[in-house]
């Protein structure tokens, strides 16, 4: 494992199939590539498209006021709320899906991925009491089918051995459900949330455009878009991107911390 042991940068390894490179090499490589890309971007004649320095400038202006912070907070709170509701609903319907009676409903929810939200906005408006509830219910309705799809496939892919061990230990069906699906798959629930968090994060900017009264990063984006203020739009885009990555990382950490056996 020469590639792992050697901490120094060796460019010849970068082009070897299946070669593992050290963490520091990786960081140097990523930094260089990002830098190269940014320089290229700045130097290229973009016309209307702002370069990195202008975007950084825009970000500075955003950070100078409370505007960004307040709107981000509004978006985050809404996303987290939607996630909590979605997780609860997903788990409920997924656990129930092992009972034949609830199979059709679970399958229907999974298929709801193919429903486009835009056409349902009016119905949701009629069904909800205010803008906040509208946004939340749209988000949850958008997220749950994706969570369910992932989680049901985890359940379906349960190795027969897990059930057989339960059988040989004399577990009842309910005990088996508890052990294999509820306890045994808890770590995977985290992984699913992590992988599908992007969907929630992507949808948030969309639903916030529907109801601007409560603000949010989506509202900000739409405002700046209207004035063709591209440096600010792209700065916001960068913030959304960075926060998404942050969440991805944090959820990963949390999973390893809560379910230490997933590190093995």
């Amino acid at each position: 494992m020469g590639g792992l042991a050697a901490p120094h940068f060796k460019s010849s390894n970068m082009f070897k199939p299946f070669e593992t490179i050290s963490r520091s090499s990786l960081l140097i490589m990523v930094a260089l590539q990002v830098l190269f890309f940014l320089v290229l971007w700045q130097l290229s004649p973009g016309g209307l498209i702002p370069g990195p320095i202008q975007i950084l400038d825009g970000l500075g202006q955003l950070l100078a006021t409370r505007l960004l912070f307040d709107n981000l907070l509004a978006s985050l709170v809404l996303t987290l709320k939607a996630l909590v509701y979605s997780i609860v609903l997903t788990l409920l319907f997924s656990y129930l899906s092992v009972l034949p009676f609830f199979q059709p409903m679970a399958q229907f929810l999974v298929k709801c991925r193919y429903l486009t939200l835009t056409g349902l906005i009016f119905i949701f408006t009629l069904l909800t009491k205010d803008g906040g509830a509208l946004k939340l219910s749209l988000l949850v309705f958008g997220i749950v089918p994706f969570f369910m799809t992932s989680f049901l496939s985890v359940i379906v892919r349960t190795p027969a051995q897990e059930f057989e061990l339960c059988q040989t230990l004399g577990y009842s069906r309910w005990q088996t459900l508890y052990e294999v699906i509820i306890v045994g798959k808890a770590d995977q629930v985290f992984e699913i949330v992590r992988q599908n968090f992007a969907i929630a994060w992507m949808m948030i900017t969309m639903v916030e455009g529907l109801n601007m009264s409560e603000g949010g990063i989506g509202t900000l984006l739409i405002k700046y878009n209207k004035y063709n203020d591209l440096p600010h739009v792209l700065a916001l885009q960068g913030v959304v991107f960075g926060l998404g990555l942050c969440f991805d990382y944090l959820l990963g950490l949390l999973r390893h911390w809560l379910f230490s056996y997933t590190n093995l």
């Binding site: 057989e164 061990l165 040989t168 230990l169 294999v180 056996y261």
Partner: protein, 279 residues
């Protein structure tokens, strides 16, 4: 010759057959396992099913364990059952079809729940055993000490060696308390030192209770014959589809059971040759 008698039937397979679609895998499988009684000893039973690879051992194993329903025939086990009588509860013997959960099953890959530590897995099994109620932790500590896994009780299965996993699986099924232990290829993939330990351990288990019955499915003839009292050979009869028991060898009659110094014995060598000839 050691004094012994074969008494009650503990397990009976009657005319077992197994088909997949129209393909016959097993047919007309009949055998019984009787309680071997030796004066002054708690002598359990060690029965083995030997056959070459692909003959249907695993399928028979699954049928015996109750995990696979046979296409025809029945497996009955004998168990003590408390019944209410006029003056309190008494225990009577009764026979009934095998169910998944009756047998302690030790799978070939020693599968354990990846999300449970060894201690948790053992505790879950011990809680299934009414005889251990309230003493689960003590029982685990005792078995762990005896089988040398005390150090790994807090670990997850992925952190154990193959030998440790096997011992955990065996202890788990012992804690569960069923009299039957079914082992699928318990000797495969073990090096010589571990192999001796495992055979020693299985013999120890077979001597722990009069009714303990080990059923070993294996293709390692020598090791299996060394620790068994009876061998059933699974094979095919010419012109017939599906495997069945083609021979039963009573190793006690041949003076080969319950001994340690078999490898050089002429009868042992001849018996191995005989079994090989059947495969």
């Amino acid at each position: 010759m050691t004094a012994y008698t074969k008494n009650d039937v503990l397990l009976q397979a009657k005319d077992i057959s197994l088909y997949y679609d129209d393909k016959c895998i097993l047919r007309n499988i009949d055998f019984t396992v009787r309680d071997i009684v030796r004066p002054g000893l708690q002598q359990g039973q060690v029965v083995s099913l030997i056959g070459r690879s692909g003959i249907g051992k695993t399928q028979l194993f699954r049928v015996l364990s109750g995990l696979q329903k046979p296409s025809g025939g029945t497996i009955t086990v004998r168990e003590r059952k408390p019944v209410e009588s006029g003056n309190g509860s008494i225990e009577v013997w009764r026979e009934r079809p095998v169910r998944a959960g009756d047998m302690g099953v030790i799978f070939q890959n020693y599968y354990q729940f990846g999300w449970r530590t060894v201690r948790q897995s053992l505790l879950l099994a011990a809680r299934k055993n009414p005889a251990l109620a309230g003493k689960e932790e003590d029982a685990i500590r005792e078995y762990a000490g005896r089988f040398d896994i005390t150090d790994v009780l807090q670990r997850y299965p992925a952190q154990l060696s193959g030998g440790q996993q096997q011992r955990v699986s065996i202890i788990q099924q012992l804690l569960k308390g069923s009299n039957f232990l079914l082992l699928d290829e318990p000797f495969s993939g073990l090096d010589i030192c571990v192999l001796d330990k495992v055979t020693e351990l299985l013999l120890q288990v077979s001597l722990s209770d009069e009714l303990k019955t080990l059923i070993i499915v294996s293709h390692d003839i020598a090791t299996t014959v060394e620790i068994s009292d009876t061998v059933f050979i699974l094979g095919k009869e010419s012109g017939k589809e599906g495997s069945t028991i083609i021979r039963e060898i009573d190793l006690i009659e041949r003076g080969l059971a319950w001994r340690h110094d078999l490898r050089q014995d002429k009868v042992f060598v001849d018996t191995l040759a005989e079994i090989k000839g059947c495969l």
